[in-house]
Symmetry: C2
Subunit: 216 residues, 2 copies
Amino acid sequence: MGIDAAATRNRILDAAERLFGERGFAGTSLRAVTTTARVNVASIYYHFESKEGLLRAVARRAMASVSEERHRLLDELCTRGDPGVEELVRAFVVTGADLVRRQGERGEHVARFIGRVLCEPGPEVRRLFAAEVGHVEGRYLDALTKALPGLPAGEVAFRYRTMVGVLALHQMDALADLAPPGHGDDIWAGRGDDTERLIAALTGIFLAPQAPAVPS
Amino acid sequence: MGIDAAATRNRILDAAERLFGERGFAGTSLRAVTTTARVNVASIYYHFESKEGLLRAVARRAMASVSEERHRLLDELCTRGDPGVEELVRAFVVTGADLVRRQGERGEHVARFIGRVLCEPGPEVRRLFAAEVGHVEGRYLDALTKALPGLPAGEVAFRYRTMVGVLALHQMDALADLAPPGHGDDIWAGRGDDTERLIAALTGIFLAPQAPAVPS
DNA sequence: GTCTATACGAAGATAGAC
DNA sequence: GTCTATCTTCGTATAGAC
């Protein structure tokens, strides 16, 4: 693969990452991608085989960015001894902002894209996501479990996934839109920097007492 | 509007509710809707003006079902004096299960649909959602604020919306899919009845201490 | 008021020249 | 590797029959 081939591939990935994030997968046509990437429709099929192949490639790249960032933040945190719950949550939440700081605009696209991918398409992509970020997830789960003695690992995992979901929605601004016209505008500004309240709320998830066992 | 016209209308609404919930809005073609509803393509345009009009109609009907259920549960709760945080969260979460119990399969469709609608399309539909369920939201916010003295109304609203988001993801099984192959299958069964752990986690959100003010 | 038939464009995908 | 041309299918929407 020549240098310009790689460049083409990357332009396609960049465009798709942004558009999928903004309009969703089903809502984005390949033609929209090729237009903003200034490439031919056929080149997508050459490089990625199909629209879904493109999605997978974008997803893998985006996850890789996030995973890398998460690993870095976690490493940093662990040099100062076993981190507490809130520190772990903070590191997790801050990843997005950190990505923006390090990668500029692309960081936002990555965050949006991941938010979308997490709730839009079929389960397949979510499972790809799960497989791709498995390593970091494992480290986080271990650290959280250690920080939360008395809470079974299964419970920690459940709450971890809840956190992932909340962060995804937050990253695509889905929560801010829920403010109702009459009641909410004044009591919740929305769109501000909600990082701190987000961290507080998510930490609360982990610190909640264990649910009573259900007979099932 | 004749009796069979209303029947056609309802068949369309039922089909759309289910399909939008399963495949998303952009991912569902009108042809798919008309096929499962056994009606002609034109009848959609006759009854709903456009695809988006159909979405709005489906959304309104679904919200109405949920709102009604929520009001009922909240009424019931308030007859026994001022409810606590956990009781409120439980009533909120249980609505989905209750809807299934009362409406059968349709309850599941409604839940899925609302989950989708909440995170898929543009902000417009989310705002429609917000407007439509505004009344119940107001009552819940009031009750929660009363149950949480010391937590500013804005903070309660933020956390309430976080709860709505988590429930939406949960209702479309988005969270269960995140279990990674190697690590999670054993420690979190997924797909079980997670109602109790969900209630515990969400209650934790509200009981978390307030975040320190951010300079902004 | 409701359905049949169909127009029209856009979508995903491919073959083959360069 | 990249682009042109084209195929097929599907989606939205309408005009007109009943």
